[in-house]
């Protein structure tokens, strides 16, 4: 029997287990998936928790609900990959051998990377919302918060779901307005980027939206430390911003195991070819999702589009053919803007987010770089699609390659 090993059973790993079990004959290929946790989190839902729109129960299901029949599942921590021997060492001394491997170990928040972030005020006046613990703690905090300086800070690039901090700011504006205390809350968005987003048109559109909602933006801020005593954040240039409540998007890093295995960059993201999705130094290792160092957004939509490319290229490799599929960096993000409305961006390595309609040119129903009610419903519907279609690796009516039709230059 030949062996396909998948490390990580999050969005990317689970999709690939489903896709490859359909592709590979059961009597020729063993498929094994390894993860240390048994719970699958619907991570896009974390954003809704601080504002009481979702609870913890809305975003969790057992991982085992989403594995296909005929896949071996091992719940264990991974010690390291020994790529030269085609081996993976698990904790407790188990050794797994593979013919082909997919690394899908994702990214984690690393608040310890910024001095003072995980200090005395952590989960008292300083929160993150990229973990279930942080999102739930913040929900509890907001219920009784009397207002003051609400500072949203992105520590460092790259970070998961690049629009989520903006959505958080928009939601906060609506939330405190609806509670009749917006005049007591000053919202400041502090980012290392030169503006609200990276590319010109989306930056302009989202920057104007921040302005309309009376949210201050402080760009080009690279945080050096958090001063817990004086409640302020300080950047390397000496700029200081006081806060009463700090919502931090901490540094994102790949799994520590990647560092131990010598396969990653200085943030533990796996060195990956951005077109083929193959690991840079090993022909039988492929990488999917946030774990890769490819220059696109770290988001489920990217993993979904890349999964189709990876499926094709992995089959090429297994059958000894040249890799024919080429990933274009396609990302697609619904952006909640508050008050039951949302916007949408669609882009890739080369094309910035443009205005237009999606997915059907001229028809929509979704509007690109427009604030509409339908876009908001798209985001809400997505949770159902995620659990029932996406994770199971089923076909969706959206091309993996970004389409120019429907976009206006």
């Amino acid at each position: 029997m030949k062996k396909l090993l998948i490390l990580g059973a999050g969005t990317a790993g689970t999709m690939m287990a489903n896709k490859m079990r359909k592709q590979l004959a059961r009597d020729e290929w063993d498929i094994t998936i390894v993860d240390q946790y048994k719970t699958h989190y619907y991570q896009p839902g974390f954003l809704f928790i601080p504002f009481g729109m979702y609870t913890k129960n809305d975003v969790i299901k057992p991982k085992s609900d989403f594995f296909p029949v005929g896949v071996n599942v091992i719940y264990s921590k991974i010690d390291k990959i020994v790529a030269d021997k085609n081996q993976v060492l698990l904790d407790e001394g188990v050794v797994l051998q593979y013919d082909y491997m997919i690394i899908a170990t994702g990214t984690r928040t690393a608040p310890e990377e910024v001095d003072g972030l995980k200090g005395n005020l952590w989960y008292k006046d300083i929160f993150d919302f990229y973990t279930i613990e942080g999102a739930v703690a913040l929900a509890k905090y907001f219920k009784t918060w009397q207002g003051g300086e609400l500072v949203i800070n992105i520590a460092e690039l790259p970070y998961k779901c690049p629009v989520a901090p903006l959505e958080f700011a928009f939601f906060a504006d609506a939330f405190f307005t609806e509670r009749g205390m917006r005049d007591k809350v000053n919202i400041t968005y502090v980012t290392p980027l030169p503006g609200a987003f990276t590319k010109p048109r989306a930056t302009k559109m989202l920057g104007e939206l921040l302005e309309q909602k009376n949210i201050n933006i402080i760009p080009d801020f690279n945080i050096m430390e958090v001063n817990n005593e004086e409640k302020k954040i300080i950047d390397y240039g000496g700029k200081e911003i006081p806060f009463d409540c700090l919502v931090s998007i901490p540094t994102n890093m790949g799994d520590d195991m990647i560092e131990r295995s010598g396969l990653g960059d200085d943030m533990n993201f796996v060195l990956t070819d951005k077109f083929t999705l193959r690991q840079k130094d090993h022909e039988n290792i492929f990488v999917l999702g946030d774990a890769a160092n490819i220059p696109t957004s770290k988001a489920g939509s990217v993993a979904h589009f890349a999964a189709e490319i990876l499926e094709e290229n992995l089959m090429c490799a297994i059958e000894g053919r040249p890799l024919t599929a080429k990933f274009d960096g396609h990302a697609n993000c619904y952006i909640e803007t508050g008050y039951g409305k949302g916007t949408l961006i669609d882009f890739n390595y080369d094309t910035e987010p443009l205005p237009g309609s999606f997915p059907f040119p001229g028809l929509g129903p979704f509007g690109l770089l427009k604030v509409t009610r339908t876009n908001h419903y798209g985001k809400l519907m997505f949770r159902w699609i995620y659990w029932h279609i996406l994770l199971k690796g089923k076909e969706m009516p959206i091309d993996s390659e970004m389409q120019m039709a429907g976009k206006k230059l």
Binding site: E156, L157, P158, F197, T198, N222, M224, Y236, D266
Partner: protein, 102 residues
């Protein structure tokens, strides 16, 4: 387009970043630095060498990476190139402006 820097014609883009890294010399660097209001010291040149090597190897430049370079700490890096260190350092080093990717 070409720009006369330190007495030589150097090709640059509209933001003033050099488009041909091989045209870089210490004199060109000093002239670009002067435009940015920076006087280059040995420490600057040490860092410039690190930056040029990194880019020549196809590696991405980050403030974190420079802070871990052993040449300077992130804070010292800000001291050498005040305000926007990565943008200024790359411009003076004759390499492309780093693209931020999220």
């Amino acid at each position: 387009m070409d720009k006369l820097i330190a007495g030589v014609n150097v090709s640059v883009n509209e933001e003033g970043y050099m488009t041909d890294s091989s045209q870089w010399t210490k004199e060109v660097a000093a002239a670009i630095a002067a435009e940015e209001g920076i006087e280059l010291t040995d420490k600057h040149y040490e860092l410039i060498e690190f930056v040029r090597n990194k880019v020549a190897n196809g590696e991405t430049l980050t403030i974190r990476g420079i802070g871990k370079s052993g040449v300077v700490s992130a804070k010292e890096f800000y001291g050498l190139f005040p305000g926007a260190p990565l943008k200024k350092a790359t411009k003076i080093s004759g390499v492309p402006k780093p693209t931020s990717c999220i």
